[in-house]
Amino acid sequence: MTDHWTARSEPLLDAEERVSGRKLYVDDLRLPDTLVARFLRSPNAHARIVSIDVSRALATPGVKSVITGLDAPRRYGVLPVGHDETALAVDKVRYAGQEVACVAAETEEIAEDALRKIVIQYELLTAHLSAHSAMAATHHLVHDDKPGNIEKEYHHSFGDSVRGLAEADVVVADTFYHPRVSQAATEPHGTLARFDGADHWTIWTSTQTPRHVQRGVALALDVPAESIRVIPCAVGGGFGGKSETFPQDVSAALLSRITGAPVRIRLSREEVFTLHRGRPENYVRMRLGLRRDGKVTAVECEVIQDGGAFCGYGVATILYSGALLGAIYDIDNIRYDGYRVLTNKPACGPMRGHGTIATRHAFEALLDQAAVALDLDPLDVRRANLLKPNSRTVNDLRVTSYGYPECLERVAEASSWKARRGRMPRGRGLGMAGSHYVSGAANSIVRGSSPHSTVVIEIDPSGRVTLLTGAAEIGQGSDTVLALVAARRLGLEASAIRVISGDTALTPPDLGSYSSRVTFMTGNAALEAATRLAARLKQAAGKRLGLPPDALVLAGGAVRSAPGGPMLLAFQDAVRMAAGGEGQLIEKGSYLPPGEAQGGRFPGSGVGPGVAYSYSAQVVEVQVNEETGEVRVERVWAAHDCGKALNPQAVMGQVEGSVWMGLGQALSEELHYSPQGLLLNGGLLEYRIPGAVESPPVEVFIVESHDPEGPFGAKEAGEGSVAAVIPALTNAIHDAIGVWITELPITPERVLAAIQRQGHGSGAKPALPRPRRRENASARP
């Protein structure tokens, strides 16, 4: 059996359907007699609900039902430790824009009209709108059981950072601030729910994680998960913003049971921004010690995240921020203090590059600050801190394949780093940085020891192959990559394989499309299923041909003795022989991460371990106008180690998209809240995603480190390249004009302020919040 993979770019299986507009999104679905529902949202950031009167809304002609918090009071949440949400606010509202009531009516206009007739009396509570004020609060807590408004804090110490810093020849320290940013996926969230009778529902929804939605809705409605069938429609982008159960999922399901009619909810763009589930505000304080030769001796890092009103994935986010200080460089001493803070703003989510962006910015920026202090080339500093493949980090992360060194060399060479960095006219600069990401989390957020992915492949007697997977195709190309893996093993074209994905009633369990897990984990499950089928086919063919199965290969749609050899038996015939009386060939494969990848044994050790890590190195070339403070990114070189590019074109697209998304956060994206907690820029005009004009040429290099456990050696491609571009850019700005930008986005005003600060020699940056560590904090699981 040959495992050699010949790279060939394939268009995504659904590309034509998507670009021609035939693909069906939730909002395209039409069921007879469907009602539409709209939410009434809280105008206040923090208030007790004294009374709700829905009688006038209910009496509006065309209104079929009005529900409020008490109609579904059970709490849910995506993490087992974070069941703190209800579909509609119960007793109090925790952020401006939170769902308080939901009206189902014949038309949206009627529903909107009815919303205005709902009378709610609020008693205002102190709103905690920043991490600073929330941590200082002693009363009117966001959740009564979270003193100091701390959702969770972790204090991790590996090695001895104090000794490490003492041994350093130079210690650099700085503070960093990243504001909230949003995924702003093309498709706004939507749900269509139908109560099928006898406590069964079908929910069509825009989600990355059908199984999490199934579980969440079941929890909220107090019914068994099996009674909910979730069918993910085509998803117009997720980026971590569609990975949870949302109020619209629960509300539509409940309203459908009450009214007996299907209920559809689509969110407006403003509502999507209000819902958020994007990145939290991050305040990072970091110290880095280095020896004269550039070797890092220790890192100390404190992260405070303003995570909004609910936990969501927050505990995982704050853990990723610390854990992924490891697994890219060889560091003996790591200290991490992380605080996830609750505030009266919308909850945050696992946005692309989950938890790693701000700490990576800080670390890579400080590496450069140290390089300047030591008069070393930043490339050489990075070279001096490389890991070895197949090693274990001080914080118990298992690193297998490690293509980072080659990533660095590729971008250094392509950008003429040695010849140009530090040698261009003032205003022009080059900067470098690296980043990495898990290729699927080694530990499931669902407790238990079930496989993370199971794939079933069926071949009917006509030779048609159907692959069933619970992973959701969200535009990232997961259907295509699974088809490619199975097709490769079965000797077919990817287009010959029909992929049915996501439907919880038809497909085997899979955790879903997040944390860059599908290619690796679901890919391995698909490979196992396909390998079993291939063995059965060769067995049957060998029997018929009188040849040992080992002498046969499946290639070019037939059984052959060698890939280019003559056809010995058509694929279809082999299928019929193998199926015998069964009529159909069915095999399943599954994937469960190996125990040794699952990390250490300390509180919070579950998050950070990946079954493998992708790596990225990037160089950014920038032009800075010192008079106006304007920054123009001229060019980006990005090398990404994806293990093995199963579909090079798709990898390039993911890396380009990552760079571009990171640049948006670096240059112009941020969410602004008013003094009373209302989102000021909840629209695509005022939330400034860069356009074609701002998009520099991005040269992508694929680095293949052939992961020993990935399917055909593959790892993830979609997240590891987001983080590096930000510090590469700030490092380039330093190369251009000699100032360090530590706050995002890099507005002209911030650049001018940094120039001015440098001129006056004062470090008058905005203050960071000061956490108060509680004594027994690290003992808690």
Binding site: R41, S42, P43, N44, A96, E108, E109, E112, R266, S268, E270, E627, T628, S668, H672, S674, Q676, L678, L680, N681, G682, L685, E686, R688, P690, G691, A692, V693, E694, T747, P748, E749, L752
Partner: protein, 333 residues
């Protein structure tokens, strides 16, 4: 809101019928040209007309006539794209084309009209929000409320005028034609704009802007338009400076004018700039700095957008003015 509110749509087929409808419904009616401003405002509940008068089937309002002899006349329904790509206008009145090309992006320029851009509603981040948002925040002076969130206590509205074409036409001394059932009147553009977001234009509710005219005497002036924005497309200006001048054979400024937009409730000419520069050498850095300083001093951006601070917007007005004058002078006679 996702859907549009209810209204009665009128589709007049002549200009007379259109102004007749305006006279009949007055404040209860809104004109619909390209719709790129109005439709957003309808969804936000900022415009709540019972009647909408569509100009889609009114003929004869989308002509652009341009010649060095007769000057420039632009029908109000000309699309921004047709203006941005007009070779004759680019040749004779370059500042207009340069401004038009900065407006939003190609698709919106294909819909948006010259008249609509001139009559753009003023903008403010406390105002350009959904009904839910404005209600939650507390309605403002400009719509449904009594208080100004930008300048508490103010009885004027400080929402910023955000059109890009107005300053370009201002530096060329343009006039506009307003038509109503009462007849036609010509108004110099610099008198059309008023300094209050509540009463933005010298235009009655039954009047229709039909044409913009620039005199032939202003043909072949050099022109520059500079726009401060965060992205290179889509964004409204956070400050804009238009400049025009004739550079005489000896390299001296004549008929120089500067106008500002997006730094107050109305676009306006920088008063005194023409007098300072008249007859001075185009490389007179001293005079250029004086005019730049003047422009900066006259600009009065307020906190109507979270996107950039007023101080930075004023800084850029000065730099834009300086650079525009330098650029016009540098290109030789």
């Amino acid at each position: 809101m996702i859907g549009l509110p209810s209204f009665r749509l009128h589709r007049p087929t002549s200009i007379e019928e259109a102004v007749g409808l305006l006279a009949e419904h007055r404040d209860d009616a809104k004109l619909l040209a390209g719709g790129t401003d109005l439709l957003v405002n309808l969804r936000h509940g900022l415009a709540t007309p019972s009647h909408i008068v569509s100009l889609a089937e009114v003929p004869g309002l989308d002509r652009i006539d341009c010649s060095p002899e007769h000057g420039l006349t632009i029908g109000a329904l000309s699309t921004l794209e047709s203006l941005a790509t007009h070779p004759g206008v680019e040749e004779s009145f370059p500042v207009v084309v340069r401004a038009a090309r900065t407006i939003s992006g190609p698709t919106l320029r294909a819909m948006g009209t010259v008249g609509g851009n001139l009559c753009l509603d003023t903008r403010c981040h406390w105002y350009n929000q959904s009904f839910f948002w404005r209600q939650a925040c507390g309605f403002c002076l400009k719509k449904d409320g009594t208080a100004c969130h930008v300048a508490p206590g103010s009885s004027l509205c400080w929402a910023a005028y955000s059109g890009d074409l107005a300053p370009a036409f201002l530096v060329l001394g343009a006039e506009i034609k307003l038509l109503s059932v009462r007849g036609e009147r010509r108004v110099p553009l610099d008198r059309f704009f008023l300094d209050d977001g509540l009463r933005k234009f010298d235009m009655a509710s039954d009047e229709l802007l039909t044409q913009v005219c620039v005199s032939a005497t202003r043909a072949h002036l050099r022109g520059v338009y500079s726009k401060l924005r965060i992205r290179g497309a889509l964004d409204y200006p956070l400050a804009g400076v238009a400049a025009a001048a004739r550079i005489a054979g000896g390299g001296t400024f004549h008929e120089a004018a500067l106008a500002l937009t997006a730094v107050g409730p109305r676009p306006f000419l920088v008063e005194g700039a023409t007098e300072i520069l008249e007859g001075l050498r185009a490389n007179d850095e001293d005079a250029i700095e004086r005019v730049a300083h003047l422009a900066r001093r006259l600009s009065n951006p307020m906190n109507t957008t979270w996107a950039m601070q007023p101080a930075y917007r004023r800084l850029r007005v000065g730099l834009f003015a300086r650079d525009a004058l330098r650029e016009m002078g540098e290109r030789g006679p």
